[in-house]
Symmetry: C2
Subunit: 214 residues, 2 copies
């Protein structure tokens, strides 16, 4: 347990260094966390195409570079970080990834974490805000069962709302669960393929980008 | 890294002890692993009702006891293990859970691991077989991106096939990915709410239960 505390303390130091480096360049970093298959990459593809602000993306996965290729095809810089057996990104991986990615000053930096609703919650990457994404197919009870991920969220996105007619998912119960873990947290319902809620998501991103400039 | 190896070696010892304890009682333990929300608990509820063999369930989640309550309502013994911030079950948790659960000799013991497609793969629990579950909403690329989980699977279930008409999911590409990680692995397509493929799943379970008796 002492070892785990040391590991996290070391990570927090590196995260603080990332945060300073990013702030000096006016780069707003967002840590996107979810289970595999919640639709993070599809959300980012559309965001990169439509947002109208400079974006760059760090992609975390155990293996493959397919997500970075998808983001590049959508028109943004992207670097893939493969964690092998690792279950989350850490601040050191992000520091090295950012050095390769070289995001433009003043840009939004999306960090798409490894698909995992558990471990990434513990590791600060130096982000300005945390966005937790969950799809309607995952079940409304998940914020209660996996509260650590929701506890530090600055925004929670409910994705794939186009599938709501076909699944047994109680949106109100889910919102209640998310806000029990994180009182008052902002929640948006989105569908990146059909476009629902994307304007609200872009408004939230623009507000974060402007807040940084103040 | 040496510490991680020690931790896994200690876990493997405890898993071997679990395996002996279970074998002496003719109990066949199955380790069910998936992301949160793939439908493990719904699958088990229906299995408990329909299989016609004695079943018991260990439920792993970070928090709440709702899954154990659901299984008990379906008619089987169940014990909930809460891992707190922990991201997987380990052999020691299973040993303690089994001591409380006291599954009948000759029964099937389902261990529903913490919802996480990454970390549980590393930890042997003393199971007779590993079942990896993935729903059609998670995307056909996931076996390639998260191969560790698929590499030691004895059976892979593709769940929620009732949603196939509403999602962009290439079943053949997904099977190909799963078999790249685990050559020749048996794959079943199921829907626990509508009933698709459940007969095949029960046949697989009966075959495992009979194989134990030989």
């Amino acid at each position: 347990m002492a070892l785990e505390v040391d590991l996290l303390a070391k990570n927090d130091e590196l995260a603080a260094a990332n945060r300073r480096w990013l702030a000096e360049r006016g780069i707003v970093a967002l840590n996107l966390m979810s289970s595999p298959g919640s639709g993070k990459t599809t959300l980012l593809e559309r965001t990169v195409r439509e947002l109208g602000l400079p974006c760059a993306v760090l992609e975390g996965d155990q293996e493959t570079v397919v997500d970075a290729e998808r983001i590049r095809a959508a028109g943004a810089r992207a670097v893939q970080i493969n964690t092998g057996a690792g279950c989350h990104l850490d601040a050191d991986m992000v520091a090295r990834g950012v050095a390769t990615l070289a995001p433009e000053p003043g840009s939004l930096l999306f960090v798409e974490n490894v698909g995992n609703l558990v471990c990434p919650a513990l590791f600060d990457l130096g982000e300005a805000a945390r966005v937790v994404i969950m799809s309607v197919t995952e079940g409304a009870d998940k914020p209660l069962k996996y509260p650590h991920m929701f506890r530090t969220a600055d925004l929670v996105l409910l994705s794939k709302v186009d599938l709501l007619p076909y699944v047994d998912f109680d949106v109100a119960a889910w919102v209640d669960g998310a806000r029990r873990a994180r009182p008052g947290v902002e929640v948006l319902e989105v569908c990146a393929t059909r476009g629902d809620g994307m304007a609200d998501w872009y408004a939230w991103l623009r507000a974060r980008a402007e807040a940084k400039a103040v």
